[in-house]
């Protein structure tokens, strides 16, 4: 697999085309809406997170940008839906996930994302070798982090 193909795995291109969680849900009782923008390339996202008790009930988003930023948002939603089940994932766990995701992406390829924990998003491991793209992959995750702070 060439560098480029490890960056743009099929899974990534698929998520970029079929975006999970795309389209903002109606705001709930405890939801926060966050706008994040990468001033360098213009990628942007509006993400809405709905919190119920100590759990993340739903995450939806809208935005435009490169396939990395789009698929990363989609994979984040997929991960939360699959792992959280019906009640949603505990907020504390989500915060840890985001932190570990950041750590891996900043590691320049040293700390890969494991599929066990990150599901489809593990395909983003390749991004960490492309420092200019790390912000693209982080966009949705940073937006969610900020949303959890506000919600």
């Amino acid at each position: 697999m060439s560098g480029l193909e490890s960056l743009y795995q099929e899974l990534i291109l698929d998520h970029a085309k079929n975006r999970r969680g795309f389209g903002l849900a109606e705001p709930g009782a405890h939801s926060a809406t966050v706008h994040q923008r990468n001033p360098i390339c213009g990628d942007e996202i509006t993400l809405r997170v709905d919190v119920e008790g100590d759990r993340v009930a739903s995450v939806t988003w809208e935005g435009a940008g490169c396939s990395i930023s789009q698929s990363s948002a989609s994979m984040l939603v997929a991960l939360l839906q699959e792992d959280g089940g019906d009640e949603g994932m505990p907020t504390a766990d989500v915060q840890v996930l985001i932190e570990r995701f950041r750590e891996s992406l900043r590691s320049r390829g040293k700390i890969p994302l494991d599929e066990e924990t990150f599901a489809d998003a593990a395909a983003l491991s390749g991004v960490s070798k492309y420092t200019a793209r790390v912000k693209c992959a982080m966009l949705a995750w940073v937006a969610l982090e900020e949303g959890l702070r506000q919600a």
Binding site: S2, G3, L4, L7, Y8, E10, L13, K17, I40, C41, G42, D43, A64, G65, C66, S67, I68, Q70, Y130, R133, C136
Partner: protein, 418 residues
């Protein structure tokens, strides 16, 4: 017949062109962002720093005298490069520095007030837009803009309507850094002069590619950046007509631009020193002079013909690729070899990454021209920009890579990934 132009000899002067990216030879098509520097420029700066470096215009010692001479010779050389006298050439930190100097100085001078108008174009680089927004906000003047037509040309009918009694400043790019189109300087100058407005030319993208004669162009002030004309970072120049520079107060103040200073007030030197507060980028001035001297060693008519051929090859090549949309697609204008485009269905950032994997370095994003991108209904584009060292083979490598983009990302006729 286009004169023969030995591009290989030119290339040999650029150490960085030997770089490999991912196993591919580097194809540097990002000269519009910053140019590469020939060995003569690197050598001139280093030689200065190893032999003559010292504070200029001060002190009686031998090094200082030599440094001062090299520094002032550099001013003569660079002024000559744009057809001007050395007294008309102000060193700046770059084009952005020069434009802020002009807008800031006009503000300090109280030359604009409520009801006055400043006219720019819809094709501005942010550097020739935001300083005018700020000046307008601070003075109560109104900022207006000449629209860009669908084909990338300025709407000159609108310009004729816009530029009127209230217009105090008309600022515009010689060449748009997105469209590559050469704007009609003489026509804009005529409109501005008729109403007594000051003209400010952003010559960033023309200086590396066209022969400039600023005094003959009719504009009042012009700026360009060293790092885009094969010279160093951290330096640029503002050119102005004698009486225009004379009429402007300093924008920044400090050492070396004064005659008498008391604790309460200071008297300022005439231009250009009035605008050059503090220690100047001395070694960079020497290196910038080396850059324009290096350029001057070439047959510039042949170089321009070479670049024109690259431009044609690039634009026609792009046009023939499916799913490519050029920003500013016209044959009616004079152009430089710089072209922005979008690949339908693939984000510019992804296009850039794909090209990079083939060794092709282009710029992606809004190129500091968000309003112009908005005008064309996009937030980002891909921009390829050639230089004197670019070969036709490199353009072909670039075009070949662009042809592969949609297939790789599985969009368009190609459908799934090839």
């Amino acid at each position: 017949m286009t004169p023969a132009f030995d591009v290989d000899a030119v290339r040999a002067d650029f150490p960085i062109l030997e770089t490999e990216v991912d196993g591919h030879p580097l194809v540097y098509l990002d000269s519009g962002a910053t140019s590469q520097k020939p060995r003569a420029v690197l050598d001139a700066e280093r030689d200065f720093l190893e032999r003559a470096n010292s504070a200029v215009h001060r002190g009686a010692h031998t090094l200082a005298a030599e440094a001062t001479e090299l520094f002032e010779d550099a001013r003569i050389t660079v002024a000559d490069f744009v057809g001007a006298e050395p007294e008309q050439l102000v060193w700046t930190s770059g084009a952005t520095g020069g434009l802020n100097l002009v807008a800031g100085s006009l503000g300090y001078a109280g030359r604009l007030r409520e009801g006055d108008e400043i006219v720019v174009t819809e094709a501005e680089h942010h550097a020739n837009l935001i300083p005018w927004q700020e000046l307008a906000r601070r003075t109560g003047a109104r900022l207006r803009h000449i629209p860009v037509l669908d084909d990338g040309m300025l709407d000159m009918h609108a310009a004729a309507d816009l530029i009127g009694e209230r217009t105090k400043v008309v600022a515009f790019p010689h060449v748009s850094n997105v469209l590559g189109i050469v704007n009609p300087v003489a026509k804009l100058v005529t409109l501005a002069r008729a109403v007594g407005a000051l003209t400010v030319l952003d010559a960033c993208q023309s200086a590396p590619h066209l022969a400039l004669d600023l005094p003959a162009s009719g504009v009042d002030l012009a700026v360009f950046s060293g790092h885009k004309v094969y010279g160093p970072y951290g330096i640029g120049a503002l050119w102005g007509r004698d009486e225009v520079l004379e009429s402007l107060p300093p924008f920044t103040t400090g050492g070396s631009m004064i005659t008498t200073v008391t604790l309460d007030e200071a008297e300022y030197l005439p231009p250009p020193q009035r605008f050059e507060a503090g220690t100047q980028p001395v070694s960079q001035a020497v290196a910038l002079a080396a850059a324009v001297r290096w350029l001057g060693e070439h047959d510039l008519a042949a170089a321009h013909a070479h670049e024109a051929a690259l431009e044609k090859r690039m634009r026609e090549g792009l046009r023939s690729i499916d799913g490519i949309r050029l920003l500013g697609d016209t044959d009616a204008a004079e152009r430089v070899a710089l072209q922005a485009f979008v690949v339908e269905g693939v984000h510019a950032h992804d296009v850039g990454q794909f090209l990079d994997s083939r060794g092709v370095a282009v710029r992606v994003g809004h190129h500091c021209a968000q309003p112009l991108h908005r005008r064309f209904g996009v937030t980002a584009s891909v921009r390829a920009s050639a230089a004197i060292h670019t070969t036709e083979a490199e353009i072909d490598t670039f075009l070949d890579a662009v042809s592969g983009v949609r297939g790789f990302f599985g969009v368009g006729a190609a459908g799934a990934r090839a």
